[in-house]
Amino acid sequence: MTTEAVQSPAFLQVEPLLREKTLNGQIDVPMLPEVAGKVVRLTQDPESDAIELAKLIQSDQSLAGHVMRVANSAAYSPNSTMVSLQQAITRLGMKVISEIALAASITSSLFDAPGFEKYIQHELRFSLATGLWSKEVARVCRKNVEAAFLAGLLHDIGRPVAIQSSLEAANELGVDLTKDDVYLLESHYQRLIGSRVVEEWEMPASVISVVRLFDNYSRPHKGQDQTMVVVAGARFAHHFIGKKQGEDRLSLEELTDSNVLADLNLYQDDIEKILEKEEVITSSLEVMHS
């Protein structure tokens, strides 16, 4: 899979339409499931409590089931079995439960991209891994740990939406895009589209700024530290699971040579401290993405 593909006639037809739609804000942003949106807003409300969160999650049968499954997994509850959501929230905390709920809500079924389901599934898995690794990077750098997960989880949210929008634009024009065409359009427009998605989903300003400036983190901006943390988190995720389906993973040497790790002033022993979290993160990832 490559983004260096030759621009086919179909691509050349679809690209201007996609550009126009993107710039004019005519992209169809998938609706974040109502429950997930409420969960995010609720956990940002200092007045909210666990009972409200439990009620909210219980209103969505499949989400409640998923949260319980994750809460009862070895990664989260090695020595006990929880029988109620209230108990799970009590045991794991509102923040963890909301992270699980949000991660569970952003699935490939949110996106209408026939033929790309597996590809998108891997992208979402990569984003989830980025969120988990970002927390560990933030911890070592003494940056905010709480905000790192959400920003990491959503940093690439523009990718699946860009794929969906490319296919929609091709349908409108009645042309067929090859996979390489789609990947090329995705890489061109995902950042711009991603920014629109997180704005539409009313995510915190720090998340919006990470999504917008992820590919250009050295440009001075408010929340630059947060962006750098997520870029670093993505490098760790790239090392462990690969960025795209079938793509090579970063070697350890490539990871430790990453500019962003140097920019965060992480020396070899700091990097090793983060790498020690592999087992914990892998098991969290398995269970949250199941």
Partner: protein
């Protein structure tokens, strides 16, 4: 010469050595100059304090403006000028270093021998540096007790406390030293419900009891809770909605976050000091003599790495002197008289002997003059309710031995007392001098008159 560390001590050591005509390299492990003082300590916390003070004053003057702090106010907003302040500071320091001709090396230094260092760099080959003289000014980092599992998310230390995104509703502060007192009172002024816990009966134990009592009453008047004589068994994130702090006697306190401010440890773990022939003393610090020279003749040390007073002001002077001594240059009389500034709300500051120390040295009959800021015009105008200045004199009521102040502005005001002490003035100087009116400085005159009145009685 090589200087390791670019905090207050390191900077001044490097500049002094360069001014004396030496080739100087300054090794710093972070990208920015300034050390913890600039990036994680003194300057960020003072920037937050300024806004905390504004918030407190707005609350006090609620009738002037219908003021309420937003619930979801980001901490970054409260440190809104920090980036500007740090950027300006960094630029100024870099310029100064460049202008002086100090070579800046970004990397971690470790000793290979008393005159040789290996510098590990980010994504570059290590570099070996040989030099005749080395000044260690690597500073310190927060100490983490075994029973407090700091995760920088729920249980924080002074390096990570300002990484919080939002103000917590409640905060437990462990410790009773300078850092604990500063953060506890700053967050309380911002409306966070703060509980300060320490094993000693009073915070800031090196000050006289009347000063620490004034601090406690000001802190509690703002809504804070001081728990002295309290041992913490353990603290942990309950995995749900708060941090639990378990104390001896069964007391349990739940809070949104916890700040552990249980002292600081010298930054020496990367240095490999054994290779230089150095050893840490029993307090984990590098021992130096009065010339700031270690047991290895070619190596000097300054700043937090040698221990108290651990003040930026003292570190700067130590750095300067370390360079002068290392290069055989006369550096003037060393003043033992270092003012202490505690940037809590209210501020506390002292210079010279405390009343307790004076009694130990001069006997129980030392004369102490006091003035209270709510009894002088400027204090009333400024609505200073918890302010006090005291002058400690010898038993004859003449020689000034020390000055201690608790009130907003104390850290500036103390320098008047410092000058009097340096000049060996009698206490009468404060009565015979005319101060602007109305000013807080008038408190010196009032306290001095109190001394004179007591002096009259014994004559």
């Amino acid at each position: 010469m090589v200087v390791i560390g670019s905090g207050p001590a390191g900077q001044k050591a490097a500049i002094q050595a360069r001014n004396l005509g030496n080739t100087v390299a300054l090794i710093e492990k972070t990208r920015e100059l300034g050390g913890s003082c600039v990036h994680r300590g003194t300057i960020p916390s003072k920037t937050l304090r300024e806004n905390a003070l504004r918030v407190k004053n707005m609350r006090m003057n609620a009738e002037l403006a219908n003021f309420k702090l937003r619930e979801d106010l980001e901490l970054a907003t409260l440190i809104n000028r920090l980036e500007i302040v740090l950027h300006a500071h960094d630029k100024y320091m870099s310029k100064q270093m460049t202008r002086c001709g100090v070579e800046f090396i970004h990397g971690r230094a470790r000793f290979l021998s008393p005159t040789s260092l290996e510098v590990t760099k980010l994504r570059q080959e290590p570099e070996i540096i040989n030099c005749q003289r080395i000044v260690i000014a690597t500073g310190s980092h927060p100490r983490v007790p075994d029973n407090i599992p700091i995760d920088h998310e729920h249980l924080l230390d002074s390096d990570s406390i300002l990484s919080m995104m939002y103000l917590p509703k409640s905060l437990v502060v462990l410790g009773g030293g300078v850092i604990a007192s500063e953060y506890a009172s700053i967050f309380q002024a911002l409306g966070v419900k703060v509980t300060m816990i320490d094993k000693y009966p009073r915070p800031l134990g090196f000050l006289d009891d009347d000063l620490s009592s004034t601090f406690i009453s000001a802190f509690e008047n703002m809504g804070g809770t001081w728990l002295g004589n309290t041992n913490v068994i353990k603290a942990y994130w309950n995995g749900y909605d708060g941090v639990i702090t378990e104390c001896e006697g069964g007391l349990e306190i739940k809070s949104d976050k916890l700040l552990c401010a249980a002292g600081r440890i010298a930054n020496v773990s990367d240095l490999n000091i054994e290779e230089a022939g150095l050893q840490l003393n029993s307090r984990g610090l590098i021992t130096v003599d009065e010339h700031l020279q270690t047991q290895v003749p070619s190596i000097y040390a300054a700043g937090d790495v040698i221990g108290p007073p651990s003040l930026a002001s003292a570190s700067m002077e130590q750095g300067r002197r370390a360079s002068c001594n290392a290069l055989g240059k006369e550096c003037g009389r060393i003043h033992q008289l270092i003012p202490t500034g505690i940037y809590s709300i209210p501020e506390l500051s002292s210079v010279g002997l405390s009343e307790t120390q004076a009694k130990e040295q001069y006997g129980e009959n030392v004369i102490v003059g006091r003035s209270f800021f709510d009894e002088i015009a400027r204090g009333q105008i400024n609505d200073i309710q918890d302010g006090m200045l005291k002058i400690v004199c010898d038993p004859q009521g003449r020689k000034v031995l020390g000055v201690m102040i608790v009130a907003e502005g104390a850290t500036e005001l103390v320098h008047i007392g410092q000058m009097a002490l340096l000049n060996d003035n009698d206490v009468d100087v404060f009565v015979e001098s005319i101060f602007n009116f109305p000013t807080l400085a008038e408190a010196y005159r009032v306290a001095a008159l109190d001394v004179l009145a007591q002096r009259e009685k014994i004559q």
